[in-house]
């Protein structure tokens, strides 16, 4: 994170940094103070753009054409890092061929970003030594998620912006421990430490630690709900997640939650999802338990309990242990440190990270043993697979588009003072008072055409459903584009979003939904 302060050029794509990752934006401001330049790509003129040297008002869902066009410009104008490409990568020629028609003019016709702006962004990125890319959901919650990220990797590799301080492509993680959860294998296709269940050495290792266990690839959340709908999945156990508000196509989500024969929800408060549960397990909050969180820096940090769990609530890990015991498993964890010992044994990247070592300052993985100090920068000298692989990422349009019936594109996102589905933040007075209810951002020109006044209730309808929210008229959004935050149960943005999925990893395109609006 601190490398951001030393960057000379920062390209922010699909991240509302000052409002969602303010401490990352603190470091952006530090860099700006030292003379760095900031370039922002976003369909809304987010607050960060007030400090930017370049701004690309991109049409939602069209990151990939713009990134490919930037690569095209850099290759055409010979701004590539030839040495890096030669020494550390493979497949460059195939990738180069794939972007030969991705001109800025072509990209402009799709993304609405002026061709000159694309050139400006490309040139600045290529010719600055310490150039960093920062991205979040604006890039990933799209049908082009995987391809866009691979294209960003291409972009970083052709200019040698990898494996050195203040470079790289840097996703800012959202939940405070989403990195940690993924590291521990809370994913359908990885065991802890990103070890694949298909590899024989993985199976052997975990059989030794856990005994016999299933190595079948699991299902992601979209697949799980579809399996429920098909009657194949008979039970669901949801921990600290509120799909009724955060999953796409709320009508489908609710239908599945009603249909599944047995539903357990484990959470700190009674959420909209918990209301459908057959069994509710009250979990303890962050103040009532200890353990570790792993942040976007790959830094594993201690959290410390300060109060006893309230009422009957228990820390998540204890609930899990209690269930394991009742299933008849032989479990012996007395505290979270015991669990950490097992993590050390089971994963190489966390091999040397123990509670004692991280009481004061966390350690960044990979950290294979107890003497290792941790790893601040990845891919130094060599990529994990050896040489970096250039990939071909052709843009094809999948998903909602404007039509006569649905002439607007709605994109979703967050506000500063609310967090995700508001389970915690809507219960805190100051935060709840700052944003007591949802809203829909609409460009003043569109509002005028439709006779919409500020704060007026507007009905927004997509092919999936309909919600009502008060209008917020602004000029900080593209025309024929709307923005709805997803925190508010009474105007749930995800009732409108659909299951337009990235074909490779199934992430839904929450950022692009075709809708129509009318005065309510």
């Amino acid at each position: 994170m601190d490398e951001i302060s030393n960057a000379e050029m920062i390209l922010v794509i699909g991240s509302n940094t000052t409002e969602q990752h303010p401490l990352a934006s603190t470091r952006i401001f530090e860099a700006l103070d030292k003379g760095a330049e900031l370039y922002v790509v976003d369909p809304r003129k987010i607050r960060l753009t007030d400090f930017a040297h370049g701004y690309a008002p991109i049409e939602p869902g069209t990151n990939l054409p713009m990134i490919n066009a930037m690569i095209h410009v850099i290759i055409k104008e010979n701004l590539i890092d030839l040495n890096f490409i030669k020494d550390r990568t493979e497949n460059y020629e195939e990738m180069k061929e794939s972007v030969k028609d991705c001109t800025p003019e072509w990209a402009e016709s799709i993304s609405k970003v002026p061709a000159e702006t694309i050139r400006q962004f490309a040139r600045k990125y290529a010719t600055t030594d310490k150039a960093m890319i920062i991205f979040t959901m604006g890039v990933t919650q799209q049908t082009t998620a995987v391809k866009s990220i691979r294209a960003l990797a291409n972009l970083a590799m052709i200019t040698g912006h990898v494996g050195r301080p203040s470079t790289g492509i840097n996703p800012l993680r959202g939940q405070n421990n989403v990195q940690g959860a993924g590291d521990m294998g809370a994913l359908p296709d990885f065991l802890p430490g990103y070890q694949r269940p298909e590899w024989p050495e993985t199976k052997e290792r975990f059989s030794k630690i856990w005994g016999d266990f299933s190595c079948l690839r699991g299902n992601n959340i979209i697949q799980m709900f579809n399996l429920i709908d098909e009657g194949i999945m008979k039970a669901a156990y949801i921990v600290g997640e509120n799909p009724v508000l955060s999953d796409p196509d709320q009508t489908h989500t609710i239908h599945c939650l009603e249909k599944v024969p047995f539903l357990v929800v484990q959470d700190i408060f009674l959420t909209e999802t918990a209301k459908f549960a057959d069994v509710i397990l009250p979990a303890a909050s962050f103040l009532e338990r200890d353990g570790t969180y792993t942040n976007t820096d790959r830094r594993v940090q201690m959290i410390n309990k300060v109060i006893e769990p309230i009422g009957n609530s228990k820390p998540d890990w204890q609930i899990m242990v209690e269930i394991m015991k009742r299933i008849g498993m032989d479990v012996n964890y007395k505290n979270t440190s015991d669990v950490m010992d097992e993590i050390n044994e089971a994963t190489d990247i966390y091999g040397g990270i123990t509670h004692d070592r991280i009481r004061e300052v966390g350690i960044q993985w990979p950290c294979p043993d107890k003497e290792h100090p941790g790893t601040p920068i990845l891919h130094v000298g060599e990529f994990k697979r050896g040489k970096g692989l250039f990939t071909v990422n052709d843009f094809e349009f999948i998903g909602d588009q404007r039509s006569e019936e649905y002439p607007f594109i709605m994109t979703t996102g967050r506000v500063t003072h609310q967090y995700h589905t508001g389970t915690m933040t809507r219960k805190v007075w100051t935060l709840a008072l700052e944003y007591p209810h949802g809203f829909v951002e609409i460009h003043s020109k569109d509002a005028e055409e439709l006779g919409i006044k500020d704060h007026q209730p507007i009905r927004i309808t997509s092919a999936r459903g309909s919600i009502v929210a008060p209008a917020m008229i602004t000029n900080r959004i593209n025309e024929k584009t709307l923005f709805v935050p997803f925190h508010f149960a009474e105007s749930p943005a995800n009732r409108l979003t659909g299951q337009n999925l990235d074909p490779i990893i199934n992430i839904p395109a929450l950022k692009v939904s075709a809708v129509r609006i009318e005065v309510e």
């Binding site: 530090e30 003072h417 100051t430």
Partner: protein
């Protein structure tokens, strides 16, 4: 405040002394590393001397971040209100407090303990003893010497220790401090004034070492000339509303008050630290927000550098630099001072009138009718209800305690009305001084609390605090022409004057009551107005958007009727209650007709929470609408910053 006793205390003896003090009191000492320094109970952590300042100012010890004010319970027909005043606890000694924080406490003492004294602050403060330890080193953002509140502590301490070579120079500030010396007297060696020279030499050396030295002599002039400077937009663009600055500030005092429902029959009134840096701080019902992002960010700086001192005589900023340390987007009050001075030099505006006009600042000591605590309401029962218009109701009510009616004094302009379990809102007093055994309120259904009030029935109970606020100066109206202008429900605040005027109509010359609304049906007091019109020197004029057959009405704006009034404008007082825009339009026409701005009276009702000049929500410039107002004359109104 200063007594003359001076002592020396050997540095090696300090721990022994702290332990002696810890027998009768709870001693708190600085514990921690780097920038993470907290006051912790002695022996619960290792005391450190290696720190610039505490992370949070000592105000957190006497003004808690969250506290319950009262508890209410419904029992069939009655509601009981139990005041949750802070209970007496063991005395606490806060050791290691820096000059900027002792100054802060001296200010918060002035703020919370005068006018309407805050009972919880008073209680905690009386149980706190402050032992300052003076700084020998400045932090990166320290500028107490530029402001004049440091580097050595001069107010707010019971004892002040200055570290010399092998000993502390100990200065006694109060009898409480003297008592501490007595408790461990064998360690304190009395000394005389000659030692003060060494102290002054040391102080000069430390002050010289400060990296930040600013000349703030002309700051108020500079601020008056740069109210609309360009740089404010850059600062406002950076602010993300995290409220870090106000949380760490030794002179921030604002809070919000909310109902916390336990269940249908039980609840708590709670207050918690609030911040003017968050947008809903001044937001009214129906989205009107008198401060935009620029006004919000600018307000904090003006309050700290100017408004607090104008009003209370204490510097509003003690130069501790914490706000600058903590801001995630690098908004710095130090840089802003520089920007103000630079803009004043290079690009000054004509001084803003609201920054240079001296308007009323009298501090009135208020006595309350009720014996209850400042924030605890008295219970009243609704006796009658009348529907005035589809959106406006009239509630008649009586205090459950008849003594309160006996002792009732008619003063003030509004009450704070509690709907138990929902919240509290200010409602204007529409009734006259003769009405002492039944209180009446006319209100419109605009938000969640008035919505609940609207659905109440006879026998239901509410809570009342008040009366508060400065009312119309009835006695100055005698023998003058009077014009009352009110639109819709805004007639209610005027009615409290209209009623005695109508009863004593011979005391006044020509009286015009001008009611405006969209439709006749939406007007308040329709029947009464017909009665008032029968009195010889009283005329009632209607300005309506939609025509009606009920009365003769002018179709258009009320201003249009003014030129036709054939009166001596120099002997006229106008009383206006309307939105600020309408007030200004009407006032301009009245001034054109020959009225003086002191004779135009208005009520400015902003977002109010406590009603007693403490929570800060109604503060406009250096004035509190709830205690300095809501009634002002037009000249005073124009001297307020346009943030209402």
């Amino acid at each position: 405040m200063k007594t003359n006793k001076l002592y020396t205390l050997n540095k090696d003896s300090l721990d022994k002394v702290l332990n002696i003090w810890n027998e009768k009191s709870s001693v708190y000492v600085p514990v921690g590393k780097g920038k993470d320094i907290q006051l912790m109970p002695l022996n619960e952590g290792e005391r450190t001397e290696d720190y610039i300042n505490l992370t949070l100012p000592v105000k957190e010890m006497v003004f808690e971040q969250k506290e319950a004010l009262f508890k209410w319970s419904r029992n069939e027909d009655t509601i009981e209100v139990e005041e949750l005043a802070h209970k007496h606890a063991k005395n606490r000694i806060f050791f290691g407090v820096r000059a900027c924080d002792t100054y802060g406490i001296a200010y918060t003492d002035r703020f919370y303990l005068q006018e309407f004294p805050d009972p919880n602050y008073k209680s905690r403060r009386s149980e706190s003893t402050i032992v300052a330890v003076n700084c020998l080193k400045a932090g990166q953002h320290c500028f107490c010497t530029s402001v004049g509140t440091g580097v050595f502590s001069s107010v707010g301490y019971d004892l002040a220790l200055t570290p010399m070579d092998s000993y502390y120079l100990v200065e006694v500030g109060t009898p409480k401090g003297q008592a501490l010396v007595s408790e461990a007297e064998s360690y304190f060696i009395e000394t005389d004034d000659s030692i003060l020279k060494d102290k002054d030499d040391l102080m000069a050396k430390v002050e010289e070492s400060f990296p930040l030295k600013m000349d703030l002599t002309n700051l108020w002039d500079d601020m008056a000339k740069t109210f609309n400077a360009d740089f404010w937009l850059d600062e406002a663009n950076a602010c993300i509303g995290c409220t870090g600055c106000t949380n760490v500030c030794p002179t921030c005092t604002c809070f919000n008050v909310v109902e916390e429902k336990i269940d249908e029959d039980h609840g708590l009134r709670v207050r918690y630290w609030d911040s003017c840096q968050i947008s809903h701080f001044t937001r009214n019902a129906e989205y009107h927000n008198p401060r935009d992002a620029v006004a919000r960010v600018r307000y904090r700086i003006y309050d700290k550098l100017k408004y607090i001192e104008e009003r209370f005589g204490f510097k509003g900023c003690s130069g501790c630099g914490r706000c600058t340390d903590v801001c995630p987007t690098y908004i710095s009050i130090i840089d802003i001072i520089g920007s103000i001075q630079k803009a004043a030099k290079n690009n000054p505006e004509p001084p803003a009138i609201h920054q240079i006009t001296k308007i009323r600042h009298e501090i009135m000591d208020r006595e309350l009718t009720s014996q209850r605590g400042l924030f605890t309401p008295d219970v009243a029962t609704i006796t009658r209800i009348k529907q005035e218009t589809p959106e406006i109701k009239r509630l008649f009510m009586k205090y459950d305690d008849p003594e309160l009616h006996k002792n009732y004094e008619h003063k003030g302009q509004f009450f704070q009305v509690t709907v138990f379990g929902e919240g509290e809102v200010p409602l204007s007093i529409p009734f006259g001084p003769d009405q002492t055994d039944e209180l009446v309120f006319d209100f419109k259904n605009v938000g969640s609390v008035t919505d609940k009030l609207f659905s109440m029935k006879e026998g239901d109970k509410v809570g009342l605090r008040g009366p508060y606020g400065r009312a119309f100066p009835y006695d100055t109206l005698k023998n003058r022409n009077l014009i009352f202008i009110g639109s819709g429900v805004a007639m209610a605040p005027l009615r409290t004057v209209i009623e005695p005027v109508v009863k004593n109509s011979n005391d006044f010359k020509q009286v015009f009551i001008m009611a405006s609304s969209i439709q006749y049906e939406k007007l308040l007091y329709k029947d009464e107005m017909k009665e008032w019109a029968k009195i010889p020197n009283i005329s009632v004029l209607y300005a309506l958007k939609d025509p009606t057959n009920e009365v003769e009405a002018y179709s258009g704006y009320v201003n249009d009727l003014l030129p036709d009034l054939d009166i001596d404008w120099s002997n006229t007082t106008a009383l206006i209650c309307a939105s600020p825009e309408r007030i200004k339009k009407v006032a301009r026409d009245l001034l054109d007709l020959g009225m003086g701005p002191k004779d135009i009276l208005v009520t400015l009702e902003t977002h109010m929470r406590c009603g007693v000049g403490k929570c800060g929500h109604c503060k406009v410039g250096s004035h509190y609408m709830c205690t300095d107002g809501p009634v002002f004359n037009y000249e005073e109104m124009m001297a307020l910053p346009p943030e209402y």
